[in-house]
Every structure is written in structure tokens, then in C-alpha cells.
Symmetry: C2
Subunit: 302 residues, 2 copies
């Protein structure tokens, strides 16, 4: 089949990435990171979340970050809102899109958000309703769509079930996330096809973790199904909370290198993106967790 000629990338580094970092990152550093990402051409950025600071202290500065952010035309700023309280806090900061976060695995849902999948949908429904009434876009993150740290392999039927529930409550688009990175090309295609039972191709995005180095192969597999929206994290920010020392989100740099090499446009300037990754990695006191960044920085150093 004809592959997409253009891909839209949501950089989730400031939220999904930094949320998993031990070291606290000041609001002004987060704001500069977002500015650098939009400067590099990212048109969608997941900025922060509105979760209890008791659970996620890394995002306690959500208001400060969102208020300080110099917004750029054409860029969509999304934030995570797990419940109505979070939504009400978020709405003051005028996000373009809110994200509700469900799981295709019952065990993961219980461990991660302390309720069943069905209960999580009941919790999300008023959030989605309120957002849509306010003209704010709604995305549904579907985690563990291929494998779960507690349940092991996840059947595509579970993904279809969750996607159907998301659709029922009015979620406009969904992410098919391989949260622990165990997915391989065919499994990922089956998870995407399950989501496509309820959502159009334009409303499904791929979110792959590189824990087992499979993220770009999975991206190619998703492109072959026609998916053209992807999520990634600059400098591979985030690590993997389920495996110490392992890689988490695929690095945006690695994704962009592959897409550009395939003649697929992203609107992103790879050199500026590498600079953004160096900026935040320097702050965190380490090297970017991106093979492309490593190779290009070596090249720059001669």
C-alpha cells in the first residue's frame, strides 16, 4: 500500500517523559523545552498533567508551566486530565486538547489508576462531556495495547473493547500505546486494526516505547496500515518505570530520521530538535537517549 506522505508527531516529552524522571525539573526549564520543541517545528506538544501532586509531584507546577508558555500559532498544547477535578484545574489554563488515560489491561488499570476499565470510563465521561461542551478537543490514551507488565500479552479484542468505550463517551481520537515496549510489527498492526473498528485512520495514533528496540519497526508497521499520527519523546525522555535502566518512549529524533529518510514530511528541523534534546539532557545531567542524537552529536564533534 501507499505509505502516508506526511506524519504528525506529538512530542510527549514534557509530560510523559519528565513525569518519569526522578529529578525535579523547574517550570522555567519545562517552558524552555516546550519553546525549543515548537521552534524545531513540533505542532503538537503534551505539556503537563493535572493529577494530584501527591501521586505525580513532577507535574505539580502545571499552572505555572501553562501560564508562562509563549504560545505559537498552529501549535496544539495538550494536557492530561484524569478526572473532573483535574479537568477543572486544567481548563483555567486553556489547553487545546485534554487527554484521558485508559488501559487495555484490567490489571494495569487497577494498579495504575485504581479502578477497573469500566469504572475509568465512568470517571472519564463527565470530563469528556465538559471538554467537548467547552470546545476543547479530547484524546484517549490507550495504554498496554500489546502487552502488560502484570497480565502479559493483551488480545486485540481488549483494545477493541476499550476503543469502543472511548468512542461511546465521545473521545475524538485515540492513541494505541505499547507502554512496555514488548510489541513487534504484526502485534502492533493487530492492536491498531482493533482500534480501527471504532475510529477512522485519521483519529488513531501510534505510541511506541523502545524498551526492546522495536519502536521504529513498529512505526513502519503502523505506517503500512496507514497511520500517520505518532507520539514520541525528545531525547527519549522518560525511561521505563517498569524496568530500571531501560529505554521508554521512542526518541523523537530517531522517529524523524526514519521518516525523513523515507521521504515522509514532518515539518520538523532535525538539527533544532537535537538541540532541544541536548538542552533538556544537559539539565538532567546525561546524554540524550537517542541513537540519532548520539550519532549526529558525534558527527558535529568531528
Amino acid at each position: 500500500m501507499q505509505l502516508p506522505t506526511r506524519v504528525k508527531i506529538i512530542d510527549v516529552g514534557p509530560r510523559d517523559g519528565l513525569q518519569n524522571e526522578k529529578q525535579p525539573v523547574p517550570a522555567q526549564v519545562k517552558v524552555e523545552l516546550v519553546q525549543r520543541l515548537q521552534g524545531a517545528g513540533l505542532a503538537e506538544i503534551e505539556v503537563t498533567s493535572y493529577v494530584s501532586p501527591k501521586w505525580v509531584p513532577q507535574m505539580a507546577d502545571n499552572h505555572a508551566v501553562m501560564q508562562a508558555l509563549p504560545r505559537q500559532d498552529g501549535v496544539r498544547y495538550s494536557v492530561l486530565t484524569p478526572n473532573l477535578k483535574g479537568y477543572e484545574a486544567a481548563v483555567q489554563d486553556r489547553p487545546d486538547e485534554i487527554v484521558v488515560f485508559g488501559a487495555a489491561s484490567e490489571a494495569f488499570s487497577q494498579k495504575n489508576i485504581n479502578c477497573s476499565i469500566a469504572e475509568s470510563i465512568v470517571r472519564f465521561a463527565p470530563v469528556v462531556e465538559a471538554a467537548r461542551a467547552a470546545g476543547i478537543a479530547v484524546r484517549g490514551a490507550m495504554s498496554c495495547t500489546v502487552g502488560c507488565p502484570y497480565e502479559g500479552e493483551i488480545a486485540p479484542e481488549r483494545v477493541a473493547y476499550l476503543a469502543g468505550l472511548m468512542k461511546d463517551i465521545g473521545v475524538e481520537r485515540v492513541d494505541v500505546a505499547d507502554t512496555i515496549g514488548v510489541g513487534t510489527p504484526r502485534k502492533v498492526q493487530r492492536a491498531i486494526e482493533a482500534a480501527l473498528q471504532h475510529y477512522a485512520l485519521d483519529s488513531v495514533s501510534g505510541h511506541f516505547h523502545d524498551t526492546y528496540g522495536q519502536a521504529l519497526a513498529n512505526t513502519l508497521a503502523a505506517l503500512e496500515v496507514g497511520v500517520w499520527n505518532f507520539q514520541s519523546s525528545v531525547a527519549g525522555l522518560g525511561g521505563c518505570p517498569y524496568a530500571r535502566g531501560a529505554t521508554g518512549n521512542v526518541a523523537t529524533e530517531d522517529l524523524v530520521f526514519m521518516l525523513h529518510g523515507m521521504g515522509i514530511g514532518t515539518g520538523i528541523d532535525l538539527d533544532q530538535l537535537v538541540d532541544a534534546g541536548v538542552f533538556i539532557s544537559d539539565f538532567l545531567g546525561r546524554k540524550p537517549n537517542s541513537r540519532v542524537a548520539t550519532a549526529l552529536l558525534n558527527k558535529r564533534a568531528g
Copy 2:
């Protein structure tokens, strides 16, 4: 198209990997590495090379390694022989296959083996002739089939040209190598298709470097063209001589994880393969350069 249901992997770690390591590795450690690889189910192993120790001191122990090796039925042991002198030294050690090493880039050929592509073929011809007369299989490594550190992008026509020359002198099968890892799926497919102008699908293997993290996506792209022979290096041995600190050969562990996840058989036991990678990495005083090994070792550690 239908993907291959079975893949054959040549582990090139003992030769292509260890050749690029600064630290000298004793012959007995190399022998144990090969034993561990065949124990894990590898049916083809590139063991050593017969090059002047002035240029490649890492392989000066070629006779010692080949003579000490307890051979296993059904395993093919290949060695690199750049010229007739090398071949004559190699043949005493009864390799199953010899490898001649050409480049699709003129500049790389000049810098790497000090002669033009055409001259390299003249040099290889008597080696190939002698090997075939002795009933030894002959493989032709084609380096820089996508990009070259000196010339930049390499046109598929250059790959077809080299493959045609290899075919003319009797080389039985060829590797399409992305030596500097800049290839992306479509480019790699075009390089393979160029090789297929002269060789049957069964006689073409993919050899991808992970310097830019693209190797598994490129493997998937090659599988989609029907290629079912691949080369990789346990623990990602080898680094990349053209970019300090960067990754070289794709790790066999990462490749096997993807293939098994896709239901493609390899005959390899992933856990034993990880152990082989830990063995040599421990000797080299570092962690395996494989995301799968990292993730599985974290899992083992609980």
C-alpha cells in the same frame, strides 16, 4: 506479501564485532564466545579474518581460534579472506565459507582496502576460484550499499554494479550492508532490489547497523521484500569506527526478539543468546549494547 516464516542469522560478532574493539580479546575467550553462540542455536558464525596483523591485530590469532574451536554439526563457520595470501592461510583451518569484502562506494573502497572497486574484484577473483575449486562456499560482503562516510548517499546502481561484478567472478551469495547505519526502510529496499538484479532472493542477506537506530525497521523492510538471511552481532559488539560512542552492528538479541514476536522462527534460544552476550560484555567490562538484553537483564534482576 507473505513474510518469510523462517530466518537464518549469521552472527558476525566474533569477527566484525571484535575486530572493532580496542581491547585485545584472548583466543580462548573468542572460542568460548563461538561455543556459546552455537549453543544458543546460531547456525552460522563469522569467526575471524585472515588479514595482515599489521592492519587488524585483533584477528592475529585466527589460526589459534579456528584450531581450538570444537565444531558442531550443522553450523557453518565463515572467515574473511581479503586476498590470496589470506585465503591460503585460511584454508589450513578448514572454514565452511570464505568472505570477500567489497564496497559499493569508490571512496570507501580506496580508504578501506586501498584500491578501486574494479581492482578489488581482480584481487578477489583468484580467491573465489580457489575456494570454489576446494568446495568452500563463497560470500561477498557489499559494504556502504546505502551511504558512505566519504561519498554520502550511494545510488542503487552502484550496488547493482558491485553485485554484478561479484556474480561475474563466481561469488555465490552477497550481503547488502548498511555499514554506517544511515539507511531507512525504502532506501534499504532499493539497495536489496539492486542486488536482486544479479542474485536470487535466497542468496541475498541484510546486514544493518544500528548507529541511527534504524536496523530493525530496515530488517522489517527487507523481510517484506522476501529476504530471510540477516547478519547481526551478539551484544551489539563492534561499535562504529566512524562515530565514537555510537552503535555498530544491530544486536542479535534485538533482531531475534522482533522475529520471534512476529512468529518467524530462527532456531535461537533468546535466553542463552543473552547469556552469550553477557559473557563477552563482562569480559569487555561493559553492558551488552542491546536494548533487549538490557530489558531482559532488568527483568531477571526483578
